[in-house]
Symmetry: C2
Subunit: 506 residues, 2 copies
């Protein structure tokens, strides 16, 4: 039976998707259980699979398929059109990059990460600077080659498009300016209001075994199945929490700190938020280009919705505080519930992004975005980064950076070559504000359900309105379809103002 062009497209995609998912399992194993000596073999496996994946994506047959589809007179529905668009975009991007550049970028990434680690541990920016410059040059070259295919107007737009398709630095600048205008004064108010709060009890030791039980609780609450005979998830332990997988096999990891039970709890809420998204993409689109997450920003909106919008509410803690005391032998039974909830929402400007609270987090991200944007447009130079970084931290967060290891060198992203990724984190918050406004109107009593331990109402809403949409729309378009609004930070700012007024009587 001869397949038509569209069927061939689906078959080709299927192979790409399945091979990617196999590669993800190797990545998971690398982080969890691989014996340390296996490192080189794993690199070889990874590089080979990437090469095969690249061959699949650039197969000349793909061009024939696209041509046959475009020259035919068959009518395609919206889903099929989207699959064709995504398949073609992937093919064009992959073929546009010479293998030598791809390989140079991969090698430079290893070199730069090694230099970054050393520079960070020695607090010596000069050790990292030359490698960062080379990394940036390579990524600029890459972006230049992709600009046309991506329809990007600037190099940085082409970089952003890798993570947030269709998004531009102009749109982000506008929204982040809104965000900044709201967050800077709010940070000041919240910091003052929450500074007198005693949160020392949060470091009371909770044995890792008990925290593992808590992980089961959280998974059950979120309807993330890790125990049944048909379970599609699992929770393992790694240095840094992450989520990986595809539809029926999506795994999260967590790191338990005996003296910081909240850390694992919020990491679990966050990662399972990611996992639910991957598990609940439209099953009809499995193995198709469209059957993927819409963007990193939308992904982050899903994890941060569960972590913050749900997990830092009064209602979540009304439900979970008694349970937490139950499994921890009343470790926090002497603490007033409202005080406990406040301590989960404390605002304290800090130097380190990954330790930031819900209010200041976006400001950390905005600093990185502004630097990337200006760097890619040659408005600033790499050598100026430490100074600019420190000035922005002083200006936006009122924080004084003492050395570059806690400053410009704190994140691994730039060393790894992830330029254009940072905005996703704060876009996640922006999207969340928009989702929240809509869910408040669709399901006015959703918070009450949470206080009764029922997350399903919220989950079903997320599944129906976001997860199931998968990659049918560009992220901005998805937000517009769902909320009827252009991207705006206003709902997120309002949400924070409301919450903090209520909690701290601002």
């Amino acid at each position: 039976m001869k397949m038509n062009a569209y069927e061939r497209l689906l078959q080709k995609s299927r192979e790409i998707v399945i091979l990617s998912s196999a590669t993800a399992v190797l990545g998971w194993d690398f982080e969890t259980y691989m014996p340390p000596k296996g490192m080189n073999l794993r690199s070889e496996q990874g590089a080979l699979l990437q090469r095969i994946l690249h061959q699949l994506k650039t197969d000349p047959e793909n061009a024939e398929i696209i041509k046959a589809i475009q020259s035919g007179h068959k009518h395609y529905d919206a889903v099929q059109e989207r699959n064709i668009y995504l398949f073609k975009k992937e093919y064009e991007e992959a073929t546009r990059l010479p293998e030598s550049l791809v390989s140079d970028i991969a090698k430079q990434s290893t070199i730069a990460v090694t230099a970054w680690k050393k520079a960070k541990s020695k607090k010596d920016w000069s050790l990292f600077k030359p490698e960062l410059m080379k990394t940036i040059e390579l990524h600029k070259k890459r972006a230049e080659l992709l600009m046309e295919v991506k329809g990007a107007k600037t190099l940085y737009d082409a970089m952003i498009d890798d993570f947030e398709p269709g998004m531009t630095q102009d749109v982000i600048t506008k929204v982040f300016d809104e965000l900044k205008a709201g967050l800077i004064p709010l940070t000041k108010k919240c910091t003052d209001a929450s500074s007198s709060l005693d949160t020392s009890y949060l470091s009371r030791p909770v044995p890792i075994e008990v925290q593992r039980k808590m992980a089961f609780d959280i998974a059950k609450f979120l309807d993330y199945d890790i125990t049944s005979e048909n379970a599609g998830g699992r929770i393992d332990e790694t240095e840094h929490p992450f989520t990986t997988g595809y539809y029926d096999d999506v795994r999260v990891t967590v790191h338990y700190h005996e003296n910081n039970v909240a850390s694992a709890l919020y990491a679990l809420l966050h990662e399972i938020g990611h996992a639910l998204y991957e598990q609940n993409l439209n099953p009809e689109w499995k193995y198709q280009p469209i059957g993927e997450a819409a963007s990193m920003g939308i992904h982050e909106s899903m994890s941060r919705f569960v972590e913050n919008i749900v997990g830092r509410t009064e209602e979540f803690w009304k439900f979970y505080f008694p349970k937490l005391n139950q499994i921890t032998s009343n470790k926090f039974a002497d603490i007033d519930l409202m005080d406990f909830i406040r301590s989960m929402n404390i605002v304290k400007p800090s130097k380190i992004r990954i330790e930031a609270d819900e209010v200041t987090y976006s400001l950390h991200v905005i600093i990185r975005f502004e630097i990337e944007r200006d760097l890619m447009a040659d408005r600033i130079e790499v050598s100026e980064l430490p100074q600019i970084w420190n000035e922005k931290y002083e200006k936006y967060l009122g924080v004084e950076i003492e050395n570059d290891s806690e400053g410009v060198m704190q994140d691994t992203h730039w060393a790894s070559g992830l330029i254009g990724y940072f905005p996703s984190y704060a876009l996640g918050n922006v999207y969340d504000g928009m989702w929240l406004e809509k869910i408040n109107s669709d399901i006015p009593n959703w918070r009450e359900n949470i206080s009764q331990g029922d997350f399903l109402t919220v989950k079903n809403w997320l599944v129906e309105n976001i997860h199931r949409k998968a990659r049918l729309y560009e992220p901005n378009e998805l937000a517009m379809k769902l909320t009827g609004k252009q991207l705006t930070a206003k709902p997120f700012i309002e949400y924070l103002n409301d919450k903090y007024s209520r909690l701290f009587g601002l």
Copy 2:
């Protein structure tokens, strides 16, 4: 820089080996940690990787490389010649099989295993018989296509060659007849001598946690590194123990039974015996065709050497008995050491191969070999199998089979299409006898070292004489080079006679 033909051969092999090793990681994950719902995705991943592997093996460029090497006038050393031979053999075998047959065999394997599971649980041979017949037909067709390339004289020889290259049913028949002639009377004597032994204490419960500590002990004793920063191994838990991996990442699994501590202990000795082999193949040959185990029989000889020849000696228990009592809070402190050692060597003919002792084990295997051999030569028919099986069990082991689930349907091998694999198990014992004779002469005091907890002397001998040889020789040739003898069961029979005389005063 242009590569010469031999360099191209090494590069092609490298890809095949690395992709196989990646596939093995997915197999390990499937057995250990994969969420159950991930089953279908994993099958898809496995099938795709097999397809890609097949493409790599049958790449027309491989034929060009072989031709260029053969038509050139370059001199190759023994290692290079062997690499060329193995590369060519793999290419010719892979190209000889039509894709449709490979795919039919894979599908039939799934169908037959499913039917076998059902038939076994219902004790109904008639449910399995038709599927077994189809499986055999497909494998006969496959063997027929491979006979020429493999230089096999019979269909069954072609099947054996998959697992024991160069071995034939005639050689095996001769050696197994020797083995049978020695083992049948020995079984009788040992059974009588050990029948009065009370071994009920072996079922004393030892908590799984304690058995996990024992696993660390055993790994340490065997120099199987699972703990250091450069560890290349690990121990996980699965239904059935197995070993998988490549050089620097070789993992074993075990199943702990609270009421049978000896089960996990011997499974660990066995699997780590396999693992040491894979870890200690010649590192210079990594990623080359020659850098693999010599055969399944040699592999089995490595696992059974550690399990039986080392692990069932008086000397091993002189070393480990006090330690076992230490970690089990003196669970067996009231047992006389010699009685304990005897109980580790008890002989009792049984119906089930995987529960068999060191003496009767080979008889179980010989029964399967004789049936396979005669079946492939059309001297017997599938419908006769239950009857023939039961007669042989009666004749060789004096055991009466009551139903086909504990008889002809006990193993999964035939359902999976593993025809020609069984002989490897008993060949492992035969090789072990030959290794033992040689090590006794090379290192007369090796047993004394074991009693002092020093396995390294033995390990180094195995590494130097067998592991490091990897696939330089065909298995039979390896045995000849090392011992100067043709394959013979005599040393194994002598070893058993000696041991059992000493232990039970036969």
